[in-house]
Symmetry: C2
DNA sequence: GGTTGTTGTGGTATCGCTACCATGCGGACT
DNA sequence: AGTCCGCATGGTAGCGATACCACAACAACC
């Protein structure tokens, strides 16, 4: 008896209560608010829990309390070291506070978000994290009705609720400025086709144009970025590489590919071709030659986003601090 | 009115039913078993759902039906391309079948699994995926009581329930055999400190010993693997690299690091040092020189694991096919 | 000593949905 | 024509927990 189908052991809170000689409510308190129960009672209940192997049913608890202790998160991919680090720190921070993260991958296809948001909201998460600041009307509508805290990351702009991100166009411009200060006159940029990579490309191109520089190539490769795409793009650019050129890549993977291909064709880096990547992957620091890149603390984004959600869940009201821009920095290495 | 606290719009199934002029049960059927409702009724209900912006509460549905449509998954990390691919295909396959994956990262620390399993089982998942085949008694006990299908991946051995994996020691042995056929006499192996990497190392070392080869070094680096660790390990090995040596690395990251460091010190690859990695990351194929590695279809593991769970959830009984060994293959490139 | 306040525990209603059984209807059979 | 069957739909009773209020026991106060 008791081994109900599907249920974990079929042990319910009432069984624990009976075994410990208390009411179910008291068992619930031992689990959720132990400070409101005397030490002896708690000990007796805990013994019963251990003896019976009771695992509280959070589904029932969530329905009753209207708090699921789930945070939903949507990121485009986890194959990208930056998102990996971000998801890691986000999850970790929330776990320590007793929340579980329900992660969904949107890929780089646009239309999928509505569907994902709907599916996730069905679980009645207590909060949600979205990547990027561009969202369709259906998504915005659903989020408004859900009335839960929302944090957008990895971008800048007017947030639905809260935001932890950075300005991609500003990064492109900063890299261009860095190159200009090194007296570069000819430029190229390789970018993946996603919104934020394109913003970095735009910021770079605009700054170059304003300074009267020449942009000899600005191919868009598919998202997500790959090393092979960087190699291909550089091969296509070879004929134009007679003179000294500065190349900005929207990802360290593209930058690495470009450097490898340059090596194969005897193009001197950084003499003839200066290369700067983006993301600060280990690859950039540990390969030879190490290459210059833009670093953004992804782990911090995850942590900040989690903490902003937690503050709201603890009752904090919307505030100015709800928009955070994390800093970026150019890490100079042998490739520039 | 209606905008209940925390609830999505506060719209309940009864509201939709009233708006469509049917009973709540009929709305439920339109959502879950549309084939049992006439087309006209369904259309009317769907219109009401759209008009009210109704998002079904899966928490309540899960409690009532005792099916959460959640699959729990525990992997050590998502920073590793193999796990990334695996999680991707696993999630995708389950999503198409109407399930959501609840992902947890165990890191490479041992003790954490019990705690994670307990937290996940609280959500009453319909099935669970675990990485590795070694689990503590508490975990095994909880899983047994949960009475849900369990699939273990990435390892071999006697499974709790189902398994999709491969034999790590056999891979190490296969790489050793491959080197022996190329008349190598001196060997080295770099391995991360996790169970499965150590199994590959053991398989390699045993095969080498049986053939009378000399193992000149077998350092264990921390898990997860990094490029830097590969460089460091190779630097430590340099004094012993006067003669022709064959090196097996438990990860492509280590292999890449070793090759980079060999290049820096003028050690000819593959002339003096032959290198084989593991995992078939893009890095190995797209860097220069491209290097030999062992490939295992991670995506297939995820898909197979998902499909085995789905089969059980559709009512299939335990069967012989519940243990699947996926093949591996040595991909020969310029480094050997 | 009676009132008030505090603390620990218990009882009841309810969260939003689906399982289960009941019902009514029309068509196919004998 | 009467019976039976199948199908679409509806009513009721729970799923297992927690919110809310009630209450008993005891301490502290005037």
């Amino acid at each position: 008896m008791g081994s109900g189908r599907g249920a974990t052991g079929g042990v319910r809170i009432a069984d624990v209560a009976a075994a410990a000689g208390v009411a179910p409510m008291t068992v619930s308190r031992v689990i959720n608010t132990p400070e409101r129960v005397t030490a002896e009672t708690a000990a007796r209940v805990r013994a019963a829990i251990a003896r019976l192997g009771y695992v509280p049913n959070l589904v029932a608890g969530g329905l009753s309390s209207r708090r699921s202790r789930i945070i939903a998160a949507i990121v485009p991919t986890i194959a990208h070291p930056m998102f990996t680090a971000l998801v890691d720190s986000f999850t970790e921070t929330l776990r320590d506070a007793g929340y579980q993260v329900m992660l969904s991958l949107s890929g780089y296809a646009a239309g999928r978000e509505d569907e994902l948001v709907r599916a996730l909201l069905g679980r009645r998460p207590d909060g949600i994290l979205l990547t990027g600041a561009e969202h369709g009307p259906a998504t915005r509508q659903m989020l408004a009705e859900a009335a839960i805290p929302v944090v957008e990351i990895f971008d800048t702009g007017a947030p639905i609720d809260m935001l932890v991100g950075f300005d991609h166009a500003a990064i492109g411009a900063a890299v261009a400025t860095y190159f200009l200060e090194k007296t570069h006159k000819r430029f190229a940029v390789f970018a993946a086709g996603d919104t934020r990579a394109l913003a970095r490309r735009r910021g770079f191109a605009e700054r170059v144009a304003r300074a009267g520089g020449v942009l000899i190539g600005d191919p868009i490769v598919g998202a997500p970025s790959t090393i092979a795409a960087g190699r291909d793009a550089l091969r296509a650019l070879l004929p134009s590489l007679k003179e000294r050129t500065a190349l900005f890549c929207s990802s360290d993977l593209l930058a690495f590919g470009a450097i490898v291909e340059a090596g194969v064709h005897g193009v001197d880096v950084p003499g003839r071709l200066a290369v700067c990547g983006f993301g600060d992957f280990e690859l950039g620091a540990a390969s030879e030659p190490a290459f210059t890149t833009v670093t953004v603390e992804a782990g911090r984004i995850g942590r900040d986003a989690a903490e902003m959600l937690l503050a709201r869940l603890r009752g904090a009201s919307p505030a100015v601090a709800d928009v955070v821009h994390v800093p970026f920095r150019i890490v100079e290495r042998a490739s520039t």
